[in-house]
């Protein structure tokens, strides 16, 4: 079957889609967007999390045909999404701040001088930058799904408690980090956004 839907603000088409394919498969294998990950394909790990009409879902459990005419945001679209939010009033915290202003934040990393391919803050959303800065990325396979879930959390709750963060991310498995640095990253992103809002008097 043929599919038409919107991914990261762009109209996309896929042909000859087998009816049993998942949205995840179509994104990864037909649209060249492998950022969403195929870790369990049974909705038990969250690595394939995308926004479907704004709502975080496991794309492995969305039949491709169900995505027809709908809006998808994947990890590849997070930075754009953050920019749009920022343009709409900085509410999502797309404007950066110094690490010193981050609350509950203990281990201070060096700045991104370490041969980063590109650390221009313009290319990353605040939550993406926070994951790098906090050391929340190891193998990175869970990272895209966690980023989409964490980004959505901060969109609806700009100062989540630790329990809120844990509950919001309880559908995303990570096998490398023990989650501590992931919590750090979400706290850091929230603190940066909060500091920015305070700074602008918003």
């Amino acid at each position: 079957m043929r599919l038409t839907f919107n991914v990261n603000g762009r109209q996309q088409e896929a042909d000859d889609v087998w009816e049993g394919e998942s949205l995840l498969y179509v994104l990864r294998e037909r649209l060249g967007l492998p950022g969403s990950k195929n870790a369990c394909e049974q909705g038990e790990c969250g690595s394939c999390t995308v926004r479907l009409d704004g709502v975080p879902v496991c794309s492995c459990l969305v039949a491709a045909g169900q995505a027809q005419d709908r809006d998808i945001v994947t990890v590849e679209g997070l930075a754009d999404q953050a920019k749009k939010r920022a343009a709409a009033g900085c509410a999502g915290g797309a404007c950066g701040t110094t690490l010193d202003e981050a609350k509950q934040w203990e281990s201070k990393p060096a700045d991104g001088q370490s041969g980063e391919a590109s650390t221009s803050p313009l290319t990353l959303s605040p939550i993406q930058q926070a994951f790098i800065d906090a050391g929340a990325v190891q193998c990175g396979f869970c990272t895209p799904g966690l980023l989409v879930a964490a980004d959505e959390l901060l969109e609806r709750n700009d100062s989540p408690s630790d329990a809120d963060i844990r509950e919001a991310l309880s559908g995303n498995l990570c096998r490398c980090t023990g989650y501590e640095k992931i919590l750090d990253a979400v706290r850091l992103a929230a603190a940066r956004a909060g500091a920015e809002t305070a700074g602008t008097g918003a």
């Binding site: 038990e44 969250g46 975080p56 496991c58 559908g171």
Partner: protein
């Protein structure tokens, strides 16, 4: 495999009549796992996502009409006071991502004994609105589960909604899993006090071939409460009564040993959950009564 995308409820019914083996897919949280893991290859997938009314609910005078595809997240956010037991059960479903997609219609359609909604539905009581081109049937929830992963639907029927009485008293839901989130029930228990009718209803999950009620326990407790005048005097339920209730709940179960837990553990855990949820609901009932008297 065919993929049908009816745009309206009537189209969906027509499609189901034409393809009785078609597998309805809404949240996809059961169907897609089976397809991804090659456990199932339906001839036809019938997508219900485009039928907006399935995602809607109406709160009436006495009942809530809950569209089959209303997500668990919506239930938690919007129906906590009308359907407290179901809202608690919804909160234990898998993960936030799954709760955003899955709904009660899917749980009923799959009719797995481990489905989290069932104990809450049984405890609440209610009816399943089953519809085909031939007409509409209201199936009492007690008659809905007919075997392991089998329900009372005819091949041409689809679930449009469930009709649930608005809670007239405290409700609780509790589920044992070996993880603190994102876990399938080892066993689960739902309890609803119905002060208006002075009845008790229960639901047991994952501890019998189908979701079941612990009817003997319900009758016993209702009689004990009546006899002691507890509904009026709001006294603490004597431990012996709670213990007897818990034992009867345990005894109602007919569990098996599997990778998730042993039969004897399931029986044991159901007793504990029955006793605790009774304590929580009764405390709440007494609190409500007291504040009603003060007001």
């Amino acid at each position: 495999m065919d993929f049908l995308r009816p745009a309206s409820w009537e189209e969906a019914l027509a499609a189901k009549a034409e393809h009785p083996t078609a597998v309805p897919i809404a949240g996809g949280t059961d169907v897609m796992v089976e397809i991804n893991f090659d456990h199932r290859r339906p001839d036809v997938l019938l997508d219900l996502n485009r039928i907006a009314e399935l995602q809607e609910w109406e709160v009436g005078e006495d009942t809530v009409r809950l569209g089959a595809s209303v997500s668990y997240t919506s239930i938690i956010e919007n129906l906590r006071s009308e359907l407290p037991g179901l809202a608690l059960a919804s909160h234990t479903v898998a993960s936030p991502q799954i709760r955003n997609r899955g709904g009660v219609g899917g749980n009923l359609g799959t009719a797995s004994p481990a489905g989290d909604a069932h104990p809450a539905l049984l405890a609440s009581g209610g009816e399943v609105e089953a519809v085909s081109v031939r007409g509409t049937r209201m199936i009492p929830i007690d008659e809905f589960y007919v075997g392991v992963k089998r329900n009372a639907l005819e091949p041409d029927e689809l679930i449009r909604a469930v009709h649930l009485p608005k809670a007239d008293g405290p409700q609780q839901f509790s589920k044992v899993g070996t993880r603190n989130a994102m876990v399938i029930a080892v066993c689960a228990f739902g309890l609803a006090l119905h002060p208006k009718t002075r009845t008790i209803r229960t639901g047991i999950g994952s501890a019998a071939p189908t979701p079941i009620r612990a009817k003997e326990a319900e009758t016993f407790l209702a009689a004990a409460l009546e006899e002691g005048g507890f509904w009026e005097n709001g006294k603490i339920i004597p431990p012996a009564v709670a213990r007897q209730f818990a034992e009867l709940v345990s005894g109602a179960a007919n569990p098996i040993d599997d990778v998730r837990g042993s039969a004897s553990y399931r029986r044991h855990a159901l007793g504990i959950m029955a006793r605790r949820t009774l304590g929580w609901t009764w405390d709440e009932y007494r609190g409500n009564e007291r504040s009603a008297q003060c007001a």
